[in-house]
């Protein structure tokens, strides 16, 4: 009697599992996908550090050292000019590091057996800066170990971290966290409003009225744009006051970019609410759809540049990636509107795309 009850439950449960082949396929494919995705995304390695070398010594030794960098697959080397060029290169993210071999490098090495190389590293991303420093140190030591096998470390590196001299971890994490929190909040707010109306039935009444899809979408967007903008401002204010992250660029520009980013987030939320019917599923979709890509593919924690091509392509579709460039650029580097025109344009396009898709989806509701 008891055994047949147990058997009944087992059989019934297996029927439930095999009833829906789609779910079964997802159950098997999802862990596989997660393993491959996270395995390739969770890496701090950088494939090729864009590096500018300025050789002020122009000796056999300094040229040999330059060639060590040019010959290494870890660096993409360009040969530099003046200090002014350097500043521009760093601000445009064209290089991550600059190595300057000072005049007298070779002479000092011959006379005293010691010498110095000046290194400047972009410190706006602290983890990356440390990795770059390791690469450069390894390259220099590789060269000196060949050239002077007897002296262990004849060349001293003097690294300077640009934008974040003390490599404060807050400088690195706070802009990323800000980007993450703002998109999660703004997407969540709007995803709940329309699904909430679907649950209560008032959405049906709206469909029965002559309001158009565009009016509903924009009418829903405006209040939440203001709300998420205020939340975003408070968060950035916190990072300034509590974590002492500077705002070196124009605060008005930062505010305008924040507004665009909030719009992107809430447009995504509206799109989500047109796809699902309950607040619970809207919440899950909005949270997962913003959190996972932002954590793994925005450059918040992991370098997207060194990921395999499919993941790098996927990272182009993550709005936070562009806002991260903007917020790090304005807060740490003092970037201008002109320097940030590309990420701002992309965020605007994302908003237009999400809102357009949401309106199209709404129209199909209203007409069908």
């Amino acid at each position: 009697m008891k055994e047949s009850g147990f058997k009944g439950i087992v059989v019934n449960e297996f029927r439930h599992i095999f009833r829906d082949p789609q779910t079964l396929a997802i159950l098997f494919l999802l862990p596989l996908l997660q393993m491959v995705l996270f395995g390739s995304a969770l890496s701090n390695e950088i494939k090729s550090v864009p590096l500018v070398i300025t050789d002020l010594d122009n000796s056999a030794d300094s040229r040999a050292l330059s060639e060590t960098f040019s010959g290494s697959s870890f660096f993409t080397v360009r040969h530099g000019g003046t200090d002014k060029d350097l500043t521009g290169l760093f601000r445009r993210n064209a290089v991550l590091a600059a190595v300057t071999i000072p005049a007298g490098f070779s002479k000092n090495l011959a006379r005293t057996g010691r010498s110095t190389v000046d290194v400047i590293i972009d410190g706006s991303d602290g983890n990356r800066a440390l990795t770059v420093n390791q690469y450069i140190t390894a390259a220099v030591h590789g060269y000196t170990a060949q050239r002077f096998p007897s002296a262990p470390f004849p060349v001293t590196l003097a690294p300077v971290y640009l934008y974040n001299p003390g490599l404060e971890s807050a400088y690195f994490f706070v802009p990323g966290l800000t980007a993450l929190i703002i998109i999660m909040v703004s997407a969540l707010l709007t995803s709940l409003t329309i699904t909430g109306e679907k649950e209560s039935g008032t959405f049906e009444l709206m469909k029965l009225s002559p309001v158009t899809a565009g009016e509903i979408i924009l009418g829903k967007a405006v209040p939440y744009l203001l709300l998420s903008f205020v939340i975003g401002t408070v968060i950035i204010g916190c990072s300034r006051v509590i974590f002492a992250v500077p705002v070196r660029g124009n605060a008005v520009l930062l505010g305008a970019c924040l507004l665009v980013y909030c719009l992107t987030g809430l447009s995504f939320g509206i799109l989500v609410s047109t796809l699902v019917n309950t607040r619970l599923s809207a919440m899950m979709l909005a949270q997962i759809g913003t959190m996972l890509p932002t954590m793994f593919l925005s450059g918040f924690i992991f370098q997207t540049d060194s990921m395999p091509l499919p993941l790098r392509i996927a990272s182009w579709g993550v709005p936070a990636k562009y806002f991260l460039t903007i917020i790090r650029g304005i807060m740490l580097k003092g970037n201008t509107l002109y320097e940030l025109r590309f990420p701002i344009l992309v965020l605007t396009l994302f908003s237009v795309l999400f809102l357009g898709l949401a309106v199209a989806r709404f129209r199909s509701y209203l007409k069908k």
């Binding site: 049906e204 469909k207 029965l208 009225s209 002559p210 007409k367 069908k368």
Partner: protein, 248 residues
């Protein structure tokens, strides 16, 4: 009811969902100023027909002309002619009655003076405090229903569609509600009502019974009773729906 001008004309209406036919070549008209009862078992095609009349569904073929406007061609224009009320979809429970009136007036483009007039009329009934401070969800059922009807009528629709308006309402509340509906019909409004209560169907000037997407009967309640030879409309309804033939 012979020589009246129809306000709603349903013309060879068909609605197909995949392989399922919800409405099959439906043709009939509803005269202006009538109280038209729309009956049928669950799944008979009533709700689909109403959604098409309201401009929410594009018919597979055929058309509905509402006050001279084709639903197929101008669904948005039809929506302005219709006021819809249902027990299922109601009001914003977390807003005050006043805010609900503002919202429904707003989406139909009703002038603020008319909305304010309706507000003071209802506030006089409930008491001002409750009206502007209480959440609608806290109001008694009867008042919620009055408010829902006010929201439905704000934009002065010619046609009022009531989709099972009284399910969950007690008999006293239902009688009061119907008194209001009949008063509205005397002002020239056309009422289209679906219901499962046959005592309510008796209030109608004519009733239509649907089965499997087709029209079975269309006549006055008295004529329907006579045709099936029954005392009550309830019995006539059951006989109609269970009969094998095409009807009367």
């Amino acid at each position: 009811m012979a020589e009246q001008i129809p306000i709603i004309s349903i013309e060879h209406l068909c609605m197909q969902f995949g392989s399922f036919t919800a409405v099959r070549d439906l043709t009939f008209s509803i005269p202006r100023g009538s109280v038209f009862g729309f009956l049928g078992a669950n799944g008979a095609g009533k709700t689909t027909t109403i959604r098409i009349i309201c401009g929410l569904l594009q018919p597979t073929s055929g058309d509905v002309i509402v006050s001279g406007i084709s639903v197929r061609r101008r669904p948005a224009a039809v929506k302005e002619k219709i006021g819809y009320m249902s027990q299922k979809f109601s009001l914003y429970g977390d807003l005050t009655p006043a805010a609900n009136l503002d919202f429904f007036g707003g989406i139909y483009g009703v002038p603020q003076e008319i909305i304010n007039g309706e507000k003071s009329r209802l506030a006089a009934e409930l008491g001002t405090d409750g009206f502007s401070h209480m959440h609608t969800s806290e109001l008694p059922m009867g008042f919620k229903q009055r408010l829902a009807l006010s929201c439905t009528l704000l934009h002065e629709p010619e046609i009022i569609i009531l989709d099972e308006p009284t399910s969950g309402v007690d008999p006293v509340g239902r009688r009061a509600f119907w008194a209001e509906i009949l008063a509205l019909s005397r002002t020239g409004k056309t009422i289209l009502v679906t219901t499962h209560f046959m005592d309510e169907a008796e209030y109608c000037s004519s009733i239509a019974i649907m089965r499997s997407g087709e029209l079975l009967v269309l006549d006055t309640p008295a004529a329907v009773r006579a045709a099936y030879g029954t005392e009550s409309l309830n019995e006539a309804f059951i006989r109609a729906v269970e009969s094998k033939g095409a009807g009367v």
